[in-house]
Amino acid sequence: MSETCKVSSERRGDVAILWTDGYINNQGGEEIAREAYAHLDQGVRALVLNLEKTRIVNSIGISILIEVLEKVMDRKGALAFCGLTPTIDKTFRIMGLAQYAEIFPTQEEALRSVSKPQTA
């Protein structure tokens, strides 16, 4: 039995899209963080996390996502989620994550939002 999360990514301009596949626990969260930090270190400004192939994110995985969000915010970047199941969506909103990272139904909407020119 292995529910290990697989993470893949692609850079599009100054945005990186990360796709997850599987259970996001501590290992899954660390895999996402590794991939995200590599992109940020290479100059990426915004991240889109597409979780459409993930049905469970546990609180340890979420705590690592909060660290990623914190790092993105420190760099004045943006983070958006898409493809969330209703349960993950609800959990992120319960925790207040939606105040700091936008949540979109589709990847296209998320990409469109984080690709907007920064006005600040």
Binding site: R55, I56, S59, I66, E67, T87, K90, I94, G96
Partner: protein
């Protein structure tokens, strides 16, 4: 082979509608437990979204015990029950550990704002459980901890 009766084979005339299992305190064993919750949820035709909520609450209860309970027998004892109350079917999950117990009323409410200014980003488990399940009862003592969670169909 006898084929008497019109009712399909099932739990209609059985005794208590419950399933018990024990899982070791080990990485990803919580996922083994969620498969059982999903099977019983599907049995009463609970929606997939509600089953997902039960699964995540169960994951949180398990990893909470894995990390903090210090279980004497290195196991978690799980019981899944199906029932009906005032015409509404429910799925109930009991997570019992024989650990050191904890005072759940003293657990500080987490917030993202606190997490941002602290190294500690954790502590969301109980809040997630209470938010996703319809009824939650936690009892704890020197004997261990029991988390009883119910979700209506």
């Amino acid at each position: 082979m006898s084929q008497g009766g019109t009712a399909p084979p099932g739990l209609a005339n059985a005794g208590p509608r419950e399933v018990s299992m024990t899982i070791p305190v080990a990485p990803e064993m919580e996922i083994v437990a969620t498969a059982q919750a999903a099977a019983l949820g599907e049995y009463i035709a609970m929606s997939r979204d509600k089953i997902d909520e039960v699964k995540l609450a169960l994951v949180e209860a398990c990893i909470n015990a894995f990390e903090h309970a210090d279980c004497r027998d290195e196991q978690l004892h799980l019981t899944f029950r199906l029932g009906r109350e005032k015409g509404r079917e429910w799925l109930e999950v009991e997570v019992l550990d024989k650990g050191k117990g904890f005072n759940h009323t003293a657990v500080e409410e987490p917030s993202l704002e606190k997490a941002f200014v602290s190294h500690r980003k954790r502590g969301w488990g109980l809040q997630i459980i209470k938010s996703l399940m319809d009824e939650v009862d936690i009892t704890s003592g020197e004997w261990g901890t029991r988390i009883l969670m119910r979700k209506y169909k």
